[in-house]
């Protein structure tokens, strides 16, 4: 017990300067009015997302709250045409009488889901690859960077589209495929972590298992992916190189600093050095990229929905809502009549992305080294 | 011994308005640089040496502001540099007073060649001279009359629009040739080997010592009356440092330049300076000839400084305490908390900077002045 407490004390003491630093940054952020606007916008959207079941309760008979309810009574009168705002439908309805208000509210959750998941996964992948490339240099660096370049060279949108089309609705995963992935990750882990004997043994066992199973593939199991999932996966695949380049640059910069050498001289393992010294000092630019990326990912997903790949008809997704009304906006008269169908969801998207962009921009200013404390 | 004063700094006050508060970087600095003399400005890191030198050229960067005092420049009849207008300042910088800095490769623009950067300063201040030279060279050989006529015209300012247009688009071969010759000449004068080749090189291709010579060449290109050198040899290794110091000395000998040499290395001071000014926490505390300062230092800080020079066989002695903060600075003499001779008055009023011996100035109550 005593040991634990002293370790906690140690941790607190160690964190103190870092907390001071964060406090300083927070103070600077509060000074910037643009940053505050961004935070407020995001807070509003978070509130909407959290309160969605209250703000737009799903009808009693719906199985999936993310499917927008259709007004059956209106459908009897006018089955297809979007209707302007009324008391029943605050924002009006879109094609096939889906309630726009409901779509926008639940679309907020969808937007957060897409943004956060895609960014976090891309970040992790990019972080790992970039760190390994930057830290070890040499051939490893060259190979990883060429691979990254290939992904970058690929037209992102088209790759996303191709993946979304090519991926079947349900993936039947081969056990050997899974183990192949495990094999790759394990090799990675060996390079990065240079683990001790016990861990090494476990990894070697996994390797053997995966190699063995690649010749036999008896077990299959299925995994179903919705269209939106496929969109998310494809954006992830295209998105991680952005992080890789940034983190690699930072790692290269920090790698030769004296404290890294000192840590090495004191006997830390590679993983230790990376986690204790390199990552804390290189993480800030990544955070900026991630914040800005959330907005950008949501925009991309909306664009893909707009083209027709993406969430299915009736799903609560802002881009999908706009896409479904494309046919109704071909003449000036139509545009004026049905303005609500694209204006309102568009405003939602714009403000959501703007909030994150303001925040990311403010972060970028706050973390600007030439401005620090002088 | 009766060298005239080139630059006189009196009661210079500089404040920095930072996030953390107002830093009173310089509080009444007094300094005199004389013709044909190397004045060493010594002090610890942060005592205000660089700020003083930048103030002479009005180059103090924001959030710094020069708040008081005068800097008189002899060439302009004793005019106060701090009150000069922009155009006069620019005409003075690089031509009458030049400055060189600490890390030469950082202070050179990486995308322009050596020749580009040196010729740049020459063209700002000596353009007519080169125009006339080029015209003369052509006229004496009776070639390219048109070109030499352009040069003569351009040498006479002001220019009309047409003249400016022609000037921009004409090749000006002879003119460029003249400038180039002078660049090579200047490089030679700072003892750079193979100056033609070096002229075409870029800063990242130069070694530290070479780069510093280039910077010196650039500073001397317009034959300034005074040179300010802000720790030019601190980052160089000792052998190179010796060469540079010799170069600096020859400047004083051959051209009678006034040189302000800033350093924290007392060894360099002993080698190269004629007079020394010692700074502490934003004040000049003592100024005297170099021999005088080493033989009979008067100010307690100077004494402590000289005593702290490590010598084999002697116990290592340092000055107790730390430099006081310059934000909300302490009253009276800033050295008082570390001074073994501190008196009551030292806490209250700042000692005046007086001449207590022949040509030996001190700011300390031990030597009078109440």
């Amino acid at each position: 017990m005593v040991d634990m407490r002293s370790r906690w004390e140690e941790f607190k003491v160690g964190m103190k300067p870092r907390l001071q630093e964060w406090g300083f940054m927070l103070r600077r952020m509060k000074q910037s009015s643009l940053a505050m606007v961004g935070v407020i916008i995001i807070a509003v959207f978070v509130a909407i997302a959290v309160l969605a079941p209250v703000l737009a309760p799903p009808p009693a008979d719906s199985r999936d709250p993310f499917m927008i309810p259709q007004d059956k009574s209106l459908m009897l009168v006018r089955p297809v045409e979007p209707l302007p705002p009324t008391t029943n439908h605050i924002f009006g309805t879109i094609e096939l009488q889906y309630d726009l208000y409901y779509g926008c509210i639940w679309g907020t959750i969808t937007a957060f889901r897409i943004g956060l998941i895609v960014v976090v996964v891309s970040l992790i992948i990019g972080l790992l690859i970039g760190t390994v490339a930057g830290f070890y240099g040499g051939v490893v660096d060259e190979v990883l960077m060429r691979f990254t370049d290939i992904i970058i060279a690929f037209p992102g949108l088209i790759l996303a589209m191709a993946f979304t089309i090519a991926f079947p609705q349900a993936i039947v995963i081969n056990l050997s495929t899974v183990l192949l992935v495990v094999f790759i990750l394990a090799s990675f882990a060996i390079i990065v972590f240079r683990p001790n004997k016990k861990l090494l043994l476990i990894i070697q066992l996994l390797l053997a298992l995966s190699l063995f199973s690649m010749f036999y593939s008896p077990v299959l199991f299925g995994l179903s992916l919705s269209k939106l999932d496929k969109v998310m996966i494809s954006i992830m695949i295209v998105g991680w190189p952005g992080y890789t380049r940034v983190i690699r640059g930072e790692v290269l910069r920090v790698k030769n600093e004296d404290y890294v050498e000192a840590s090495r001289a004191a006997g830390s393992s590679d993983a230790g050095v990376i986690m204790k010294h390199i990552w804390p000092n290189t993480i800030y630019p990544i955070l900026i990229v991630a914040t800005l990326d959330i907005g950008s990912v949501v925009l991309t997903a909306a664009a893909l929905s707009f083209i027709g790949i993406g969430a299915p008809q009736g799903f609560a997704d802002w881009g999908q809502i706009i896409q479904s009304c494309r046919n109704w906006l071909t003449t000036p008269a139509q545009i004026v009549t049905y303005y609500h169908t694209f204006l309102i969801p568009g405003l939602f998207i714009s403000f959501f992305v703007m909030g994150w962009n303001l925040l990311g921009d403010a972060l970028r200013d706050v973390l600007d080294p030439t401005l620090r404390r002088r | 011994m009766s060298n005239k004063n080139v630059v006189e700094v009196q009661n210079l006050d500089v404040k920095f308005y930072t996030y953390a508060g107002v830093v009173e970087a310089l509080d009444g600095v007094n300094l005199t640089v004389r013709e044909g003399e190397i004045l060493g400005l010594v002090g610890e890191t942060g005592c205000g040496k660089s700020v003083t030198s930048l103030s002479i050229l009005m180059l103090v960067p924001p959030p710094g502001r020069i708040e008081g005092g005068t800097v008189r420049f002899d060439k302009l009849g004793g005019a106060d540099i701090l009150k000069m207008d922009d155009a006069s300042l620019r005409s003075m910088r690089g031509k009458d007073i030049s400055m060189i800095f600490q890390e030469p490769r950082a202070y050179l623009n990486p995308v322009y060649s050596v020749e580009d950067q040196i010729s740049e300063v020459m063209l700002v201040h000596r353009e007519s001279e080169f125009l006339n030279k080029a015209a003369q060279a052509l006229e004496s050989k009776k070639r390219r009359r048109f070109e030499s006529r352009i040069y003569r015209r351009l040498a006479k300012k002001p220019h009309s629009r047409v003249e400016r247009f022609i000037s921009r688009f004409s090749r000006k071969r002879q003119f460029k040739e003249e400038v180039r010759k002078e660049v090579v000449q200047v490089l030679k004068s700072v003892e750079i080997p193979d100056p033609e080749r070096v002229a075409g090189m870029y800063p990242h291709e130069l070694s530290g010592g070479m780069a510093q010579r280039v910077v010196i060449a650039m500073a001397l290109a317009c034959n300034p009356m005074m040179l300010i050198a802000d720790e030019p040899t601190t980052n160089l290794d000792v052998t190179v440092q010796a060469q540079i110091l010799n170069l600096v000395k020859s400047l004083r000998d051959n051209f009678k330049s006034a040189i302000l040499y800033i350093t924290h290395d007392l060894g360099v001071v002993a080698q190269v300076c004629d007079r020394v000014a010692v700074m502490y926490a934003g004040n000049v505390v003592e100024t005297a000839g170099v021999f005088e300062i080493f033989e009979s230092p008067l100010h307690p800080y100077t004494r402590a400084l000289l005593e702290s020079i490590p010598r084999p066989g002697k116990a290592f002695k340092s000055i107790p305490g730390i430099v006081p903060s310059l934000i909300n600075p302490i009253s009276g003499c800033r050295f008082r908390d570390r001074c073994s001779y501190a008196m009551e008055i030292c806490r209250k009023v700042k000692p005046p900077f007086d001449e207590v011996k022949k040509d030996h100035f001190v700011a300390c109550y031990l030597y009078g002045g109440s």
Partner: protein, 374 residues
């Protein structure tokens, strides 16, 4: 100078490798589809389509043979200029190379206006924002950049169409009006460059006296130009290009301004600026000759990549405006699962990327002498 040449050669080799990598990736994706669809990748002309030579093709190009064999077959076909046959509705059945050849000039038509505007406005505003830090231009450009970057491109497009539609009662979509299309078709308009803006003038000058215009099948939806002749083709094309250019510029100029600004701020805080001032140079000379030249280095890289991305197709914008560029073609091909088209687009995109990279590298080496030693 030989170091410059060697540098270029080195980069070229690397880039060729990247292109190959991209082709492998693309090919891998197509392998997810069954052989008869993939046969279209090898079809050269209409004849083969009509006579249903699919089985022969499957045999000939070994579509049922192992991966590497197929890949090499395919690659050799590509290098001979056969990118397959596109069957999608949008491109109406033609060889992929023809589709690219006719459609890319339209994308270029937009980019040739958008790119210079973005670059020059971006550089100018960025520099001004940096010089007068926290001044009016800085604050204003910052806000507009963030807002511009947050807007979904399709939404801005729709908005602009709506505004123009409501104000002028015309819907401006596509590259040219229907009346102009009829004119071009009936008078045997020669598409010299493929860019209507140029072709109008070229036809007026060099190809006079073609057959007179007929009003066959004339259906106009909101004519802006009533009298149609060669020069009016140019004017019409220009009018149609305005809105897409506005959309692109609004969204992308933000990034350039930001990068230019921060790069300039960094350059202005460098030591050599103090030297420049100490030499007695005028303030403008210091800013523009010394600081800006250094600040432009990272901006040049970014601009190159931006232009490459633009030239590779503005998928969303072209779709919204119905502009017949390759972006639009790629989008419709993807939705209709037109494999050769998607492949062809991906290859084109990678190719443009590679060339842009090369140009940027050369530019970089020219501006920054430090790179040449590398």
């Amino acid at each position: 100078m030989t170091s410059l040449v060697a540098y270029i050669v080195r980069r070229l080799i690397l880039l060729v490798f990247v292109v190959l990598g991209v082709t492998v990736l693309i090919f891998a994706i197509t392998m997810m589809f069954p052989p008869d669809i993939r046969a279209y990748m090898y079809i050269r002309n209409v004849e083969q389509v009509r006579h249903g030579v699919i089985e022969d093709l499957i045999k000939k190009y070994g579509l049922d043979q192992p991966l590497y064999v197929q890949y090499f077959n395919w690659l050799s076909q590509v290098l001979q200029g056969n990118l397959g046959w596109s069957h999608a509705a949008g491109s109406g059945g033609m060889p992929v190379v023809d589709a690219i050849r006719t459609k890319w000039p339209y994308t270029f038509e937009i980019v040739m206006f958008a790119a210079p505007i973005i670059i020059f406005v971006g550089i100018y505003v960025g520099v001004q924002a940096a010089i007068h830090r926290n001044g009016i231009i800085d604050q204003l450009s910052r806000v507009t950049s963030i807002v511009g970057w947050s807007l979904p491109s399709f939404w801005v497009g729709m908005l602009l169409i709506a505004i123009v539609g409501a104000t002028f009662h015309v819907v401006i979509t596509g590259a040219v009006d229907q009346s102009t299309i009829n004119y071009m078709r009936s008078t045997g308009f020669v598409h010299v460059t493929g860019v209507d803006i140029f072709d109008g003038v070229l036809n007026a000058v060099f190809y006079q006296g073609r057959s007179p215009a007929s009003t066959v099948g004339n259906v106009s939806t909101g004519m802006v130009i009533s009298a149609v002749n060669d020069l009016s083709v140019t004017v019409d094309a220009l009018i149609h290009v305005i809105l897409p250019v506005i959309v692109i510029v609004t969204i992308d100029v933000a990034l350039l301004i930001r990068v230019m600004r921060s790069s300039m701020l960094e350059a202005l805080s460098k030591p050599y600026i103090t030297t420049a001032k100490a030499k007695g140079l005028k303030k403008n000379v210091v800013i523009y000759k010394h600081a800006r030249r250094n600040a432009l280095i990272p901006v040049a890289t970014l601009s190159g990549m931006l232009v490459a991305g633009l030239l590779g197709g503005l998928v969303i914008t072209e779709t919204v405006f119905g502009f017949p560029g390759i972006g639009n073609w790629a989008a419709t091909s993807a939705v209709q699962v037109d494999i050769p088209a998607v492949l062809g687009y991906a290859i084109l995109s990678a190719f443009i990327f590679v060339i842009a990279n090369l140009v940027v590298d050369v530019l970089y080496a020219y501006i920054d002498p430090r790179i040449r030693l590398d």
